[in-house]
């Protein structure tokens, strides 16, 4: 699991982002963390996953590049919107 240099972090988990990132690096259990990655389907822009999904054996050997983390799915969607604006995809 790798993280983007410019990682987007949701407001609700900003205060505990260090703990979350260290736990994610160690592949430990985390509750209510949603990850934003590049879309697996080239027709889409981004994918939103619940972090627990990455604990499944299927993702064990898959390289995952995380662009942002959020405390809820709603927040993850808002974060995606802000990412789109910041990166100039949408004006």
């Amino acid at each position: 699991m790798t993280f983007a240099d410019n990682l987007y972090v949701g407001e609700s988990i900003k205060h505990k982002s260090e703990r979350i990132l260290s736990r994610m690096e160690q592949n430990k259990f985390l509750m209510e963390v949603f990850c934003i990655t590049k879309a697996s389907n080239p027709n889409n822009l981004y994918d939103i996953y619940n972090y627990l999904e990455f604990k499944q054996p299927y993702y064990k050997d898959k390289p995952i590049h995380i662009l942002g983390i959020a405390g809820s799915k709603q927040e993850a969607m808002e974060l995606v919107a802000s990412m789109l604006i910041t990166e100039g995809v949408v004006s």
Partner: protein, 343 residues
């Protein structure tokens, strides 16, 4: 010289005999504790009378404990040591109550004899109570003095005026209601307060949820660690060994003698058959003294059982030694302690 030697040898002989006797007695007691089994007995019936009783005895009549319950009657239990009743649920007098009665009787007898001493005692008690009453009076007087509020003491004056006034929570508890200062209880103010309260509540709830999540995450870490530890080779060996020991212990504790029957029937004959199948698979049906009779025609349950067994302390000592002396088990135990976080 020869006389002295004889005396010395005699003393040594006596010491040797005493030592041997002490060692022999200790060994005998140890052997009795280790090898004389604790016998247990359980009997019950579910026919006309419904109930059961259980008993434990050690060294025949030395220690006996028994208890039971029959439907419609009260629970009963008793314990006897050397045939003497020590503890009982009924009205029978135990050895302690008998001893207490005897003590009371003796005290009464003693009290009845010297009348002069009794009178003196009563007089002494009276003087004691009078002393106490005077002391109580003094304490009361002191309290009255402490309630006295001197006119130049502002703290006490304020305490007197503010007592009983409810705290509103916004720091206005000291304000008077006479209309000298604005109360600020308009609808906008109320709404602001309500919003503040809601925000505080939401903040607290979020903090609590975060704390709960962290706890769950830590718990999951622990579970993952234990799972990893469990599947290690060394742990597996220990688990297998301990399981074997547990199985053997259960087999050892199980009753050695049994008599009776269990007749059962479910409303559905198929379920009755399934239960009978499970009993057969567990080996409870063939070659057992307790008969299991399935009734496929109706829903019923009646039984009569009487089982007996015995347990020796030696078995548990031996099992304990097997566990303690096993290097692998000890190592796994130490490692397990670290994994769980007790060390």
């Amino acid at each position: 010289m020869a006389v002295l030697l004889t005396i010395l040898l005699t003393i040594l002989k006596v010491i040797g005999i005493v030592l041997l006797a002490v060692i022999g007695l200790s060994l005998l007691i140890l052997a009795i504790v280790l090898f004389v089994p604790v016998r247990y007995e359980v009997s019950g019936e579910f026919e006309e009378n419904k109930g059961g009783e259980a008993g434990i005895s050690w060294l025949g009549p030395l220690i006996r404990i028994r208890g039971g319950y029959y439907f419609g009657n009260e629970l009963f239990y008793w314990a006897k040591v050397f045939g003497l009743l020590v503890y009982s649920s009924g009205d029978e007098k135990t050895i302690f109550t008998k001893f207490r009665d005897w003590k009371e009787k003796r005290a009464k007898k003693k009290a009845a004899k010297p009348a002069v001493i009794k009178e003196h005692k009563e007089h002494k008690e009276q003087t004691d109570t009078s002393q106490f009453s005077s002391y109580a009076q003094r304490v009361e007087n002191d309290n009255n003095i402490s309630d006295y509020n001197p006119p130049g003491n502002p703290a006490k004056e304020n305490a007197g005026t503010e007592a009983g006034k409810p705290d509103t929570g916004d720091g206005t508890s000291g304000q008077s209601d006479t209309g000298d200062e604005p109360t600020g209880d308009g609808p906008a103010e109320k709404l602001r307060k309500l919003i503040k309260k809601a925000q505080a509540f939401a903040y607290e709830a979020k903090n609590k949820t975060d704390a709960f999540y962290e706890k769950v995450e830590d718990g999951m870490d622990k579970i993952e660690r234990i799972e990893k530890f469990y599947y290690e080779n060394e742990s597996q060996h220990t688990v297998q060994k301990l399981l074997k020991l547990i199985k053997r212990t259960i087999a050892y504790v199980m009753p050695t003698k049994g008599d009776g029957y269990i007749c059962y029937g479910w409303w559905d004959p198929a379920t009755t058959g399934k239960i009978y199948g499970i009993c057969c698979a567990l080996g409870l049906v063939v070659g057992r003294q307790i008969e299991i009779i399935p009734d496929f025609s109706r829903a019923t349950f009646h039984c009569k059982l009487d089982v007996k067994g015995r347990i020796r302390v030696f078995y548990f000592v031996r099992t304990g030694l097997v566990i303690i002396l096993d290097k692998k088990i000890r190592h796994v135990y130490k490692k397990g302690k670290k994994v769980i976080g007790h060390e």
